[in-house]
Amino acid sequence: MTTADTSAPADLDVPLDVEELTVAFPTDDGLVRAVRGVSFHLRRGEALGIVGESGSGKSVTAMAVMGLLPETAQITGSARVLGRQTLGLDDAAISAIRGKSIALIFQDPLTSLSPVYTVGKQLAEAVLAHFDVRREQAWDRAAELLDIVGIPDPRQRVNAYPHELSGGMRQRVVIAIAMANDPDVIIADEPTTALDVTVQAQVLEALETARAETGAALVLITHDLGVIAGHVDRVCVMYAGKLVESGSIDEIFYTPRMPYTLGLLGSLPRMDQARSQRLTPILGTPPSLLHLPPGCPFAPRCPLAADVCREHEPDLVPVAGGHAAACHFSDRLIEVTPTDLFRPTATDARVLAELEDDR
């Protein structure tokens, strides 16, 4: 347990700076390398989206930064919040950072809300902890915050317990508490995955309001590319514990340079298009993090895979300005659409058969 790094000045322009973060979990079957060297920097007021499917390591990254992983986790690298190192801090030190500088929003709002206190009380406590006001003012602010996040009848809801509210409302209460703390960074880990679509829209709007009011930067972790498209400025794509592509939102969505990103975009059904094309799935399944083969982890599923891919894992290198991709053949992906690269088949066995026929 190291003591807090108080010597470095608080760097207000970079509220969150993660450098070569790795996380490994020892298990009965071996060492699971959940995160294998992730680096990203968040600028003030910026919104960063971390996209990945299950097993990509995106949630583990956030939890590592926040010191929420179990003791057995092996963490290396650096994660600085406003210049202060958070990895390896003891519980008291990191609790001080959590809540004040960083607000956390999880998938299940009940993780953040205490079931035995009313919503109003929890909000008022948060306000009182950060602002020097009287009790009544804190309660007024609590009702005001509930209104800002779009909860109807805020004056009455202030006296409700969390279990009396629906999932969407609870999540908005969590966002309200986050606003009360006036953080520098909001980390939201799959905040809307468990919610209905119309409720998701409400919660995301509340999140936008929270950002506007507090000027906080945002790290939005999700598997939903649609949510990312509308709410972030920059995107990092994770696969098998590493960043495989990062760039601005337009760069990632319109000119991806890593086959996985391309495949991901091609496998999405589009609500804004009449059904014209078949979807192009990515065949196979993500690799086991226990026994990662050498080379690029995406190679077994990649149509471009060559021997070099199976031997050397590509680094995340810049391909154009702020756009970086981890692929040996990223230059081949300029102006390529998913259907150029992936086949619109349904089953892997059929691909096998087709390839046999082609010979």
């Binding site: 196979g284 077994p300 149509p303």
Partner: protein, 308 residues
Amino acid sequence: MADIETRTAGPTLAVAAETINTEQRSQLRLALARFVRHRLAVASLVVLLLVVGFAFIGSMVWPYDHTVTRGVPSSVAPSWDHPFGTTTAGQDVMGQVMRGTQQSLKVALTVAVISTTFGALWGAIAGLYRGWVDNLMMRIVDVILVVPLLVLVTAVAGNVRGGTTWWAVALVIAAFIWTGTSRVVRGVVLSLREQEFVEASRAMGSTDSRIIVRHLIPNAAGPIIVAGTLAVAFAILAEAALSFLGFGIQPPDTSLGLLIETARTAPFTRPWLFYPPGMFIILICLTINFIGDGLRDALDPRQTMVRR
């Protein structure tokens, strides 16, 4: 449109892509492998087999049996001739323990099998149907549980013919103890029936009996096995109490429990009468318990096992 060379991928793409990480073995071999991994269970199995051998084969070999025999000195401490000593009446304790183990094992295993089977079915039916069926069945269970075993036995003892045979006492104990299993199984079934795979089975046209036998009971195997092992322990001790009261195995025949009961006053004066049968009771209960643990693990396919 860019010209992408995708043929370089080759069939290795598809084959490598669709992988499952475990090696294939047949169900039985997998279950055996899981059981074997449980070293305590394997050791217990060996010990139990030794005990069974001791009881059944040993009694054929050992020169003395459990009855009073001429030429057997009375009240002798353990010696080479009589490793467990002798009783005041002139019985070789080793012969007694052998016979006693036989009878106790017979009773205990019969009770375990009957009570577990009946209790599991009862609990599964009650759990699956719910409503008034469940209510009725569980109230019957409650009534049986409320009545003390000994009162039940004395009421029954006078009417049952052959009250002194081992299978009669086994039946009586089973008739009492199945209730515990039924409650446990009902609890498991109540949660299982909400699972989608039960609904899927119905959607295919399964009958209720098929759902109970093929889906609910196998998925409740863990608790059923545990209930079974507990039944064994209970049965041995219950049999002792009943036999002592006159219902069940009577002298000159003997059981482990009866041996313990008659030697109740002896632990300090003539310990060889008390400790050997006591040790065997403990051995049997412990080994069955650990074997049950091993079986439970062996039958659960979700145990992560043998991954290469």
